[in-house]
């Protein structure tokens, strides 16, 4: 690469301004053995030999009190299927290994078999909290590849934007509801879902479905907004 620093001066100011001081993440070579063990060993598959190679760990008398617990794929707080293997000391989490893949649907493989108008039905279920956003991404990518992304009618673009933002609202209401419930504010769940019903009623009026509408399609939207 060039010898002079090609990055502009505001980049250097950016780096200096966001320096975290003592909490800065050090490069791997500067880590002590215990920190390295915690970071790389979070893969939780290091054999004894590999762990011993990381050097002499100080003899920690509290070590025999750690528990490895499986927070399984079926759990009310994981919101969907996420499996966490946790090493706990009391209530402090020392290491955590997430194991994913419990909702692998083969959507990419299925999508290879579908027509472009059917692609929306597949893609819309990827992030099921805000389905219109997935459809929008798929539709825009298809239009760009087909070369028609200049020819979308203006009204369709505005309708897409409106539906995406409503979908974002529905998703964020759900996030606040479930987050509140996790933190202990259980009535937030009720408020969030109540407000979400209003958004879903709007979607039902426009697209016919409360969730997973195949509405935004390559080329525009499926139908115009209803008169009401």
């Amino acid at each position: 690469m060039t010898t002079t620093d090609p990055r502009p001066s505001d980049y250097r100011r950016f780096v200096a301004g966001t320096d975290e001081g003592d909490q800065q993440l050090k490069p791997r070579s500067e880590l002590t053995a215990t920190e390295l063990m915690r970071e790389v060993g979070s893969v939780l598959r290091m054999s004894e030999a590999e762990a011993a190679q990381l050097g002499d760990l100080p003899d920690d008398p509290d070590d025999d009190q750690t528990m490895i617990i499986n927070m399984g794929p079926q759990h009310p707080s994981t919101h969907g299927v996420l499996r966490l293997m946790l090493e706990l000391r009391g209530e402090t989490v020392l290491r955590c290994k997430p194991i994913i893949g419990y909702l692998h649907t083969g959507m990419e493989k299925t999508g290879e078999q579908l027509a472009y108008m059917q692609g929306g039905t597949n893609v819309t279920r990827m992030d099921y909290l805000s389905p219109i956003a997935n459809e929008l991404a798929f539709a825009m990518a298809t239009e760009q590849l087909l070369g028609i992304d200049e020819d979308i009618p203006d009204r369709a673009v505005w309708i897409r934007m409106l539906m995406s933002e409503m979908s974002r609202m529905a998703s964020h209401l759900l996030f606040m509801a479930t987050n509140g419930m996790d933190l202990g504010a259980v009535s937030m769940m009720i408020y969030g879902w109540r407000e979400r019903e209003e958004v879903l009623r709007f979607f039902q009026e426009v697209t016919g479905l409360r969730m997973n509408h195949n509405y935004v399609r390559p080329g525009g939207v499926a139908a115009d907004l209803p008169a009401s």
């Binding site: 990055r7 980049y11 994913i100 692998h104 493989k109 299925t110």
Partner: protein, 151 residues
């Protein structure tokens, strides 16, 4: 190397497995601090794709998208991976976030990454046989009685 605001699709660097790690390391030093995605492509059905003339087209490609957060630049690295020897060096030491992405590429395509701390299947059960996103792997449909379209 690239201007801010340019699409990753317009800024592609092709390479071979031998030069891959050195190239990515030089990009990291240049400021591309974030690996946005690492995925694989199986070109079994369309091997005749536009590539630079001096590059041998292989069956698999690994595509890495990198992002420079401070200067807002994007770049895409495409590596040709031969079917006979589907192996690449792992980017885990440069970008720890690629741990899951490389496991997914291994699971779905069978491309192994040497130097990866834990290369096991991530989406399919661990004793699954086969790599699902390869083009010669069947969708696995069961016959359905009333199905007019897409036989």
């Amino acid at each position: 190397m690239s201007e801010p605001g340019v699409n990753a699709a317009d800024n592609v660097v092709h390479t071979t497995p031998g030069e891959y790690l050195a190239l990515v390391k030089s990009l990291v030093d240049d400021g591309f601090t974030m690996c946005v995605d690492l995925t694989g492509v199986d070109y079994l059905t369309h091997m005749a794709r536009p590539l630079p003339a001096d590059l041998v087209a292989e069956r698999f490609e690994v595509v890495v998208n990198l992002l420079d957060l401070a200067a807002r630049r994007r770049i895409r690295v495409r590596v040709q991976v031969p079917e006979a020897e589907p192996e690449l060096p792992s980017l885990f030491d440069l970008y720890p976030g690629t741990e899951a992405m490389e496991r997914e590429t291994f699971d779905m395509f069978g491309i192994a990454f040497s130097g990866h701390p834990d290369l096991t299947r991530i989406l399919m059960p661990e004793d699954w046989v086969g790599h699902p996103l390869r083009k010669d792997y069947e969708v696995g449909r069961i016959p359905v009685q009333f199905k007019a379209a897409n036989a």
